[in-house]
C-alpha cells in the first residue's frame, strides 16, 4: 500500500456475528482506501454494514462478532510502515494504544456518550493521560485550548461542569474534544450528527473540516444522508449489504453514478427547484436478510438491470474512470 498518500486501506474485510446457531454476514468483502488528509464519506441504508465496518477497524465488536478474513492496513505516519489492525488481539495492549491515540471515534448519540458522574474536563483529561505523559497543569491548558478551538464559550468554566449542563451540540463538541485531544491521524465519525438538529449539524460538520485543516486529520464520516456527503466529503464509498458497490470522488459519484444502487440513491434525494409534481424515485423491495449468505450479487433481487450473469457470482470492482470504482456486471464487472 502507498503509505504516503493512504492512511487506511481495508482489503477484503469480512465481519460476522454468531447469533445462536445463525451467522449474520454483516460485512462481506469490503474494499476501501482512505486518502491521507481527505474526508471520506461512507453512505448506505440502515443495516448495510457501515458502522460494523468502522467498528471492525478499531475492533470495537461485541464478543459474538469475529473477523472472518481480510486486512485493515493502517499507516499512522506518511511513508512509514503499515500495520494490520485485523490481526491484532482485540483486548491487547497494542490495540488499546491505537484506540483514542492514533484512531479516534465519535458516536451517534452525544446525549449518552459522556459519563454523567464526571466533569467533562476530567473525561477529556482521562484520554490524554492514558496515551501521553504530560503533567496535569499542561494537560489542562491543552484541553482548555482545544475546547476554545472547538467553539465552546468560557472553556475554563465549562471545564469543571458536568455533562447534564451541556446541550446536545455542545456535548458533541466535547466528544470531538475527547477524540481529538491526542491528535489522532484518523477520526472516524459514526453518524455524528444524526441526533442533532440541522443548524447544529452544519456547525459540527464544519468543525470537523476545520480540524482537518489545522491538524491534518483524515476523517471518515459514516452517514445515510446524501446531503452531508455532497457538502462535506472529498471521497465517498457507497455500501450495500456489507459490500462497497461503488467508490470515487464526490463529483464522480454524484454526477456520474454507475452502480444501479447508487443511481437510485442519488435520485431518492429531493433537490431544491425540482417540480412539485415529480415523484421521488424509490428502490423497490427491501434489503435481504443478512443471515443468509449470498452466492451472487446482493442487489440483484432489487435491480432493474439484472441479467443472468448477476445470478451467478459477485462482480469484481472495475475502474470506470480514474479513481472511480464500481462493482456491477452491467458496468463491465467480471466475476
Amino acid at each position: 500500500m502507498d503509505t504516503q498518500n493512504t492512511i487506511l486501506q481495508i482489503d477484503h474485510l469480512k465481519t460476522r456475528f454468531k447469533v445462536g446457531k445463525k451467522t449474520v454476514y454483516a460485512v462481506n468483502d469490503v474494499n476501501l482506501s482512505v486518502a491521507r488528509g481527505h474526508v471520506q464519506g461512507i453512505v448506505g441504508e440502515s443495516g448495510c454494514g457501515k458502522s460494523v465496518t468502522m467498528r471492525t477497524v478499531l475492533q470495537l465488536l461485541s464478543p459474538n462478532a469475529y473477523i472472518a478474513g481480510g486486512d485493515i492496513l493502517f499507516a499512522p505516519e506518511p511513508g512509514g510502515d503499515a500495520i494490520d489492525l485485523a490481526k491484532m488481539d482485540r483486548y491487547g495492549e497494542e490495540m488499546r494504544a491505537i484506540r483514542g491515540q492514533k484512531i479516534a471515534m465519535i458516536f451517534q448519540n452525544p446525549m449518552a456518550s459522556l459519563n454523567p458522574v464526571y466533569t467533562i474536563g476530567s473525561q477529556i483529561m482521562e484520554n490524554l493521560l492514558l496515551h501521553e505523559k504530560v503533567d496535569k497543569e499542561e494537560a489542562k491548558k491543552r484541553i482548555i485550548n482545544l475546547l476554545a478551538e472547538l467553539g465552546i464559550p468560557e472553556p475554563e468554566q465549562r471545564y469543571n461542569e458536568y455533562p447534564h449542563q451541556f446541550s446536545g451540540g455542545m456535548k458533541q463538541r466535547v466528544m470531538i474534544a475527547i477524540a481529538m485531544i491526542c491528535n489522532p491521524g484518523l477520526l472516524i465519525a459514526d453518524e455524528p450528527t444524526t441526533a442533532l438538529d440541522v443548524t447544529i449539524q452544519a456547525q459540527i460538520l464544519r468543525l470537523m473540516l476545520e480540524l482537518r485543516e489545522h491538524h491534518g486529520t483524515s476523517v471518515i464520516i459514516v452517514t445515510h444522508n446524501m446531503g452531508i456527503i455532497a457538502e462535506y466529503c472529498d471521497d465517498v464509498a457507497v455500501m450495500y449489504m456489507g459490500r462497497v458497490v461503488e467508490s470515487g470522488t464526490v463529483r464522480q459519484i454524484f454526477q456520474n453514478p454507475q452502480h444501479p444502487y447508487t443511481r437510485a440513491l442519488v435520485r431518492c434525494v429531493p433537490v431544491p427547484g425540482m417540480p412539485k409534481t415529480n415523484d421521488l424515485e424509490t428502490i423497490s423491495g427491501s434489503t435481504p436478510d443478512a443471515s443468509i449468505a449470498f452466492d451472487h450479487c446482493e442487489f440483484e433481487p432489487r435491480c432493474k438491470f439484472a441479467t443472468e450473469a448477476c445470478r451467478k457470482g459477485f462482480p469484481q470492482a472495475v475502474e470506470c474512470e480514474p479513481g472511480h470504482m464500481v462493482s456491477c456486471f452491467a458496468r463491465g464487472g467480471q466475476s
Binding site: 470495537l60 488499546r96 458522574v117 469543571n160
Partner: protein, 290 residues
C-alpha cells in the same frame, strides 16, 4: 473567574444538600446519628467514670450527682456504659455495613459487567448466601465456636452483601450498554477502569443509602443478638450487653433505668439511620427530580 468556577462546582452538591435539609425527618435522623456518634466518640469528655470499674458498694445505686443515671448490678456507672458501649455498637454497625456493601458492590459490578457464565456462578453464590437467615447462622456458629465480635461481624458481612450485589448487578447490566461505555472503549480505556472508575460511581447513590440504613440494621441486630447472649462477649460493654444484663424481672421492674437507657439509645440510633436513609433516597433518586 475563580469565584465563578466554585459556584458552578458546588451548585450540584449544594442543591442535593438543600434537598436533604428540606426533608425534616431525614434532617432529624441526621442530627440524631451525628449527636449520638459524637457523644460516644468523645465519651471521655462527658463522663469521668470507667465503664468497667466495679464498685459493689454502689450496686443498683440511684441516680445522683456523681452517677447521673445511677449504677448497675455490679456498681458500674450506667451513663459511662451507655457512652462507651455505644462506641462498640456503632463501630460494629459501620464496619459491617461498609464491608458488606463494598463486597456486594464489587461482586455485583464484576458479575453484571462480564455477564455470561461468571455472572451465573456469582448469582448462584449470592443466592446461597442470601437465603440463610442471619439469626439462624449466628445461633449455629456461636454455638459451635463460642462468642466473638469478629465471628459475628463476619456473619453479618457474609449474609449482608447479597442485596447490594443484586442492585449493583442490575444497574451494571443496564449501564454497560450505555453509549459512553463504548466511547470509553474507543479511547482505549481498559475493562477494569470502565467497571470500577466509570460505572460503579453511577450506582453511588444507592450505595450510600444502603450503607446508612444497614448501619441502623446492624446496630439493632447486634443489640438483639447480645440481648440473647449470642453476640458480643459479656465483658465488653455494648448496648445489647447492657440490655442483656438488665433482663431479670427484678431489674426490669425495680431499676428501669438499666434497660430504658440502652433501649432508647439503640432505638434512637436505628430510627435516625432509617430516617436519614429515607431522606437520602429522595436526594439520590433521579426519578423524583423536579
Amino acid at each position: 473567574m475563580e469565584a465563578k468556577k466554585k459556584s458552578t462546582r458546588s451548585s450540584n452538591s449544594k442543591r442535593q444538600f438543600q434537598k436533604l435539609l428540606a426533608n425534616k425527618l431525614s434532617l432529624v435522623g441526621f442530627i440524631i446519628l451525628v449527636v449520638i456518634t459524637l457523644m460516644c466518640t468523645f465519651a471521655f469528655l462527658l463522663t469521668k467514670w470507667d465503664p468497667s470499674f466495679i464498685d459493689m458498694s454502689l450496686r443498683y445505686a440511684e441516680p445522683s450527682s456523681e452517677h447521673i443515671l445511677g449504677c448497675d448490678q455490679s456498681g458500674r456507672d450506667v451513663w459511662a456504659r451507655v457512652l462507651y458501649g455505644g462506641r462498640i455498637s456503632i463501630a460494629i454497625g459501620i464496619v459491617c455495613s461498609v464491608l458488606a456493601n463494598v463486597l456486594g458492590a464489587a461482586v455485583g459490578c464484576v458479575s453484571g459487567y462480564y455477564g455470561g457464565k461468571l455472572d451465573q456462578a456469582l448469582v448462584f453464590v449470592k443466592e446461597i448466601f442470601g437465603c440463610f437467615p442471619t439469626t439462624m447462622i449466628v445461633l449455629v456458629v456461636m454455638g459451635l465456636s463460642g462468642q466473638g465480635v469478629l465471628v459475628m461481624c463476619t456473619i453479618f458481612v457474609l449474609t449482608g452483601w447479597p442485596s447490594t450485589m443484586s442492585y449493583v448487578r442490575s444497574r451494571m447490566l443496564s449501564l454497560k450498554t450505555e453509549t459512553f461505555v463504548e466511547n470509553l472503549r474507543s479511547t482505549g480505556v481498559g475493562s477494569i477502569s470502565i467497571m470500577f472508575r466509570h460505572l460503579l460511581p453511577n450506582t453511588l447513590g444507592v450505595f450510600i443509602i444502603n450503607i446508612t440504613t444497614n448501619i441502623g440494621g446492624y446496630v439493632l441486630s447486634e443489640a438483639g443478638l447480645s440481648f440473647l447472649g449470642l453476640g458480643v462477649p459479656k465483658g465488653i460493654p455494648t448496648w445489647g450487653n447492657m440490655l442483656n444484663a438488665a433482663r431479670s424481672f427484678t431489674v426490669m421492674s425495680e431499676h428501669p433505668l438499666l434497660w430504658i437507657i440502652p433501649g432508647i439509645a439503640v432505638s434512637l440510633f436505628a430510627l435516625g439511620a432509617h430516617f436519614l436513609g429515607d431522606g437520602l433516597r429522595d436526594v439520590f433518586d433521579v426519578k423524583t427530580e423536579d
